[in-house]
Assembly symmetry: C2
């Protein structure tokens, strides 16, 4: 099942304690697709300037990404430069140039409009509405957002929630959106406004799926070296949605596995700059890491009687 | 198997957004024992003043705590007063009066010296050394500490590590002790100095066991109301050590279950002031919550072929 993915296609310059990368592939649609195409084809809608190294996206095309929805316009591509601190949990934005992304108006190609799985990357909720207006019969809509839209476009965002099945946000965003510090209550507030599910991403602490009457935890994968945290959240979304689209299912067992695949893909994203780690990634790598996740979380109650009393 | 537990036996006055409690039972030894006695007998060593409502400890005695090692001295009991903020993740200490705890010198009663399981609550590492000096043949020594000792008694603490099997600390303490922001590296640094295992407690984010070549995650239990976070870490330690002592085993499968019991006990601790939630807790409650933890973490790889590739 193909996934329609709308988001930024950007160039990033990143400094971490481990090195530096200049004008490398970035943006939510790029990270999402690098992870999702492990599982399912992706149809990307975005915009780049004439300066974009379009040939570098060949890797994604070879994996099953359809690039026909990426407009190439006069002007500069979306550019972000940032520097991560020593502990990698905080960063400074050194520069942001929106370029052609500033007046991006997503146009969904005719051939993409029948998509049933849709990922709305972190863009203006007004544009996220416009995307859904152009999709004939979306079945599973997943959506990301950020503090900027929660503050500045609250009304549009809240009305968008009615059209969304899964909201994927970080813990601070969930709390801010619901104006509620308790995550369980915040996720209920959000689910009461539309989404059947809320996935709260917590970086190194993993992610939690809040659904109707049940929750599921995927831990963060413990890495000795977090080389570059950029894109981990979008790679998580890619693994999560990619797996669900492959299974064409929202059954709880598939959702659990989707959470694990999300966390697995997030862990790979941070092992190298840009989407580089995904270039060498194959199914066996993924299977091995999934096994590690099971080892990290599985336990059995002893069968010879209750160990408490 | 009885556990020797040395730590504070205190009175706490606590304010949270949900209410207020004045001079209620607190201290690391009290929270540890309230949780551990669900699984195993505990022998408490500590000190209180003449003002201590000693009869209030009858509940612990009824559960299997031996109070013979709690000295009653002239003077005031250790008193702590604190106020939690709206989000319950931060708190202000309003008052600390060490009282008789200021010159506490743990004396292990003769009958306790054969203890094989030992929990060293968060006290001066010099005193933690003195405790171990008095125990004949400790087999499993678990130890807690805090930033105050990491900064002020670093040498004593590092030499103590050689005598410890499991260090239980929070994530900030692990990073500070090892001077290393990466938890995997920090836990290795610690393990290289003695402990076979490091348990890193992360509050609402759960806890991680770092052992030789393997790790295990226990999530935090999602609660709508965290009534009073005081004592959650000690209750975690109580569930963890209580279960290990009951099993008399450090086998990986038992350690995994011990992590879950730790997280379960931590979740109960925060549901009421002081140790009050433990008063009504029975084995069926614990079993139910363990089942919930399994539901929150269990997943299976589909058996009909790799879902990735």
């Amino acid at each position: 099942m193909s996934i329609l993915c709308v988001g930024s296609v950007a160039l990033d310059s990143v400094e971490t304690p481990f090195g530096k990368a200049e004008r490398v592939l970035g943006g939510s649609a790029v990270f999402f697709s690098a992870a999702a195409t492990i599982f399912s084809p992706v149809r990307i809608v975005g915009v780049v300037g004439k300066d974009y190294p379009f040939a570098d996206l060949d890797f994604l095309a070879g994996r099953g990404a359809d690039l026909a929805g990426i407009e190439r316009r006069d002007g500069e591509s979306f550019f972000w430069a940032g520097r991560y601190h020593y502990d990698l949990n905080s960063r400074d934005t050194l520069e942001t140039r929106l370029g052609v992304f500033a007046d991006f108006e997503p146009r969904i190609p005719e051939a993409f409009r029948s998509s049933r799985y849709v990922f709305l990357g972190n863009i203006d909720p007004t544009l996220q509405h416009q995307v859904l207006d152009q999709v004939e019969a979306p079945e599973v809509v997943a959506c990301d957002t950020m503090n900027y839209w929660i503050e500045g476009q609250r009304k549009e965002l809240v009305s968008l929630l009615e059209r969304v099945n899964v909201l994927l946000v970080n813990d601070a965003e969930a709390r801010q959106l619901a104006d509620e510090p308790n995550l369980l209550k915040a996720s209920r507030w959000i689910r009461e406004r539309g989404p059947e599910m809320v996935v709260v991403k917590k970086g190194e602490h993993g992610a939690i799926l809040f659904a109707d009457n049940w929750v599921f935890f995927a831990p963060g994968y413990p890495l000795e070296v977090v080389f570059d945290p950029t894109g981990a959240g979008d790679a998580f979304a890619g693994g999560f949605m990619g797996y669900l689209a492959r299974r064409a299912s929202l059954a709880p067992d598939d959702l659990r596995r989707a959470m694990i695949y999300g966390s697995v893909m997030g862990s790979y994203a941070v092992e190298d700059f840009s989407i580089n780690r995904f270039r060498s990634l194959d199914g066996a790598d993924v299977a091995d890491r999934v096994d590690e996740f099971r080892e990290m979380t599985a336990f059995e109650t002893r069968v010879d009687g209750a160990p408490h009393g």
